[in-house]
Symmetry: C2
Subunit: 175 residues, 2 copies
């Protein structure tokens, strides 16, 4: 399948050679970015492979999970856009897919008739409850190389990075 080892090796060699020609290159940061994307990409592909037999892709599933895990099982498209990192355009398509399969229902909000209310159906909940457990072993296995301490450290650093990048992008956009 998608073998990461050659990529990782080539990454280190390649960055070294580029740095020979362009010495200002921030080597360790570039390595981090690419490692991050490599890893995330591999995990995503594996996950989507497991989802495909059920006719969903990651964004569809993520959206459904947002509803499943929300306080009252409902949300508006715009809320879901923020949480599932999607653009409104695509959220319309996702809602269409999920609604067609009766995993969610569509209705109008009463207090603001522009808004649409998406709600997970009982069938949607059953679907999630059937779908999730078989995936647990694979997810656990992905991080089996980490000790409990390492997992904790990794999570702490990742979270710190995520929130830092968030701030960076925001301030980039404003001035």
């Amino acid at each position: 399948m998608s073998s990461l080892k050659p990529c990782v090796e080539a990454l280190y060699e390649g960055v070294g050679r580029v740095a020979d020609r362009i010495p200002e290159l921030p080597k360790s940061e570039v390595v981090l970015v690419r490692l991050l994307m490599l890893t995330a990409g591999a995990l995503l592909r594996e996950f989507e492979d497991r989802l495909k037999p059920h006719g969903l892709n990651d964004s569809d599933f993520r959206t459904l999970m947002m509803l499943y895990s929300s306080e009252d099982g409902s949300a508006t498209p715009s809320e879901l856009c923020v949480l599932a990192e999607q653009k409104p355009t695509n959220m319309t398509r996702i809602a269409n897919v999920l609604a067609k399969r009766d995993l969610i229902s569509r209705s109008h909000a009463t207090h603001d008739r522009r808004q649409v209310l998406l709600r997970i159906t009982p069938a949607g909940r059953r679907f999630v409850a059937k779908l999730l457990p078989p995936m647990f072993p694979a997810v656990a296995e992905s991080f089996a190389c980490f000790s409990a301490t390492e997992r904790k450290t990794f999570e702490k650093l990742l979270k710190k990075l995520a929130l830092h990048i968030d701030r960076t992008v925001d301030t980039d956009a404003c001035p």
Copy 2:
């Protein structure tokens, strides 16, 4: 732009609520997967925004960089597919794009006439040399929240994870 903070918060809350209903849920692993994808996604989007003015996307650029950073400035499409994590179909398109802009050249390998040899042109090298340096500050800033030790730790863990996942996926495919 794409604010991560609400996503991160919703992630922790959501995983908690799901675990209430499905107790076997491997909470910390799920959090890690999503954090990883969230972060990688945000970095990718930011990077592509900086690339867009030059008319390239991430895969195009990554492919060009593979040639730039290779031993002799050349490679076959299949080699690039492995290194840039692309399917042959898409590599054809990428090669078309880069060749049309004279950043790379196409020729046939002599010893095996099935193979195509892609080679970065002098113009391609100049393009990379012009393009890269202005991006360095942003890349450095992305990881500015890390101390030197943290960066080192993070890289070590990421690399370990990448190689572990690699092995996992491989052995998954075989039996």
